[in-house]
């Protein structure tokens, strides 16, 4: 069996003297959708920031496409095709929609296919095309979310990591976002979805991992999670 696209082994990470991730292990196979759930403050964002290189690994190892990326710089990780779409979007407020998307294709390899990729993103998110000359700070919450995702798609990503795509959005918009996420799955992207609420990912995720206090406490399929009331109430308060 070939190695999974992303493999985490006993990953430890945190801030200053404070260890947040206590030893996380899981895989993201090629073309699959893996979801990481858990209450706030338990390490979900820390996890993605560690994988994308914004945070240094304190222990354990991370392999992407067969290569150990523990010591890689953020730009090297992005260049390898591992794209992190951060919590809260972090779209550049003083730049237009188009400039934001252009920045997504900053790397040389992405730059050559920029216009082609731009068309694909506009096709997926027609509203971005309408607003392409507008400043990102003037967009609505849902549009900013689309912009963040679209921007992430501009580079040649193999694995997209989305940090709480439903955060702060009304249910209707969230549904729209997840529609698009499902389309991405169909196009063959591997996805790592971090969410607080299991409802959202139930239809989309192939595997689910539950994080509590910095460790993985449960893993299984969406169906298994749904059948397991105990887990749902204890960890997710649902």
């Amino acid at each position: 069996m070939s190695e999974p696209l992303l493999r985490l082994e006993n990953v430890q990470s945190g801030y200053d003297d404070h260890l947040v991730l206590q030893g996380i292990s899981f895989d993201v196979p090629e073309g699959s959708v893996v979801s990481v759930l858990g209450p706030n403050g338990h390490g979900k964002s820390t996890l993605l920031r560690t994988i994308s290189g914004l945070l240094r690994l304190r222990g354990g190892s991370i392999r992407f496409a067969g290569e150990p990326i523990d010591k890689w710089r953020v730009d090297q990780i992005v260049a390898a095709g591992l794209v992190h779409i951060p919590q809260g979007d972090l779209v550049f407020p003083q730049m237009t929609v188009r400039e934001n998307l252009y920045l997504g294709a900053y790397l040389p390899k992405a730059h050559v296919r920029r216009d082609e990729q731009l068309e694909r993103v506009y096709h997926l998110f027609p509203r971005l095309k309408e607003r392409s000359g507008q400043l990102a700070s003037t967009l609505s919450g849902g549009e900013r979310r689309m912009l963040a995702i679209g921007r992430g798609l501009m580079s040649r990503a193999r694995l997209l990591m989305l940090d709480e795509p439903s955060l702060g959005l009304a249910p209707l918009i969230t549904e729209e976002i997840y529609e698009n996420i499902r389309k991405l799955k169909e196009e063959g992207y591997a996805l790592l979805l971090v969410e607080e609420n299991p409802e959202r990912v139930a239809d989309t995720a192939d595997h689910i991992h539950l994080i509590d206090h910095g460790s993985v406490v449960w893993q299984g399929s969406a169906k298994e999670l749904h059948a397991n009331d105990h887990i749902l109430t204890t960890y997710l308060g649902v």
């Binding site: 914004l54 550049f92 730049m95 900053y106």
Partner: protein, 292 residues
Amino acid sequence: MAALIQTIYSGLVLGAIYALMAVGLTLIFGALRVLNLAHGALMMMGAYVSWLTAEWIGLPAFLGLPVSFITMMLVGFAIYKLLIGPMIGKPNWETNTFIATSGLALALESFALLVFGPRNQAQPFAIAGNFQFLGVTISYQNLVIMAVAAVALILMERFLTQTRSGLAIRATAQLPDAAQLMGIRQDHVFLLVLGLSSGLAALSGVLLSSIFFIAPTFGFHPMLKSFIICIFGGLGNIRGTLYAAFIIGITEALVSLYLGVRFALPVMFGLIIVVLIFRPTGLFGQREVVRL
């Protein structure tokens, strides 16, 4: 009345130089969140390099400008690589870079004092002569200054908006983490910004000293004014800084005319206190962007 117009014109010339001076500073703060207290010393060094180019190497005076720009740009690179770069990200880096750059400034001033002596020197990059236009005396040197400043600022604007590197700098200034996630190398951006800013400081140093004179400590007060201008315009806000530079330049000229030169700084200072009371992030500054 003629005096007034003349004064406003002088204010515009000053404004042009101040714009060059302040833009580099605000760029460094915007991208690195560092206050570069060595900025004045870099201006001073730039002025001396231009002087050396003519007096020592014997090249024509006008070449002093580009030579100075390139030399100080390289110095800027070195400052990043050796001093600021190693500190960023480590504990206390905001305070430490502040002190380190001021220490560098003092060291550079001592060095200049040692090498060039305390006497004032004239900047060779200067054209004599003037003409009358609508009752205003316009010196050729002032025209040259305005032209150089205009060209430099326009080129910089083009660079920041049209080039890939410029986009990278703007992105880093707005949201450092997001910029990195685009594949932008932060250390490259920082290096570039330090180099660019030092080059601009050199240009403004040459131009300013062509009106006044060169001396080892000549950069300190202009740097102080630059900071005031940056605060006015909003730290990190380039357009605001440009507007502020001209406002301050004209204000200084007017104050000098009606109250006397020594009141210029206190008046400016009083102005920013008032501005900061009502707009704590500067006249044109935005609320600090919240970083995740």
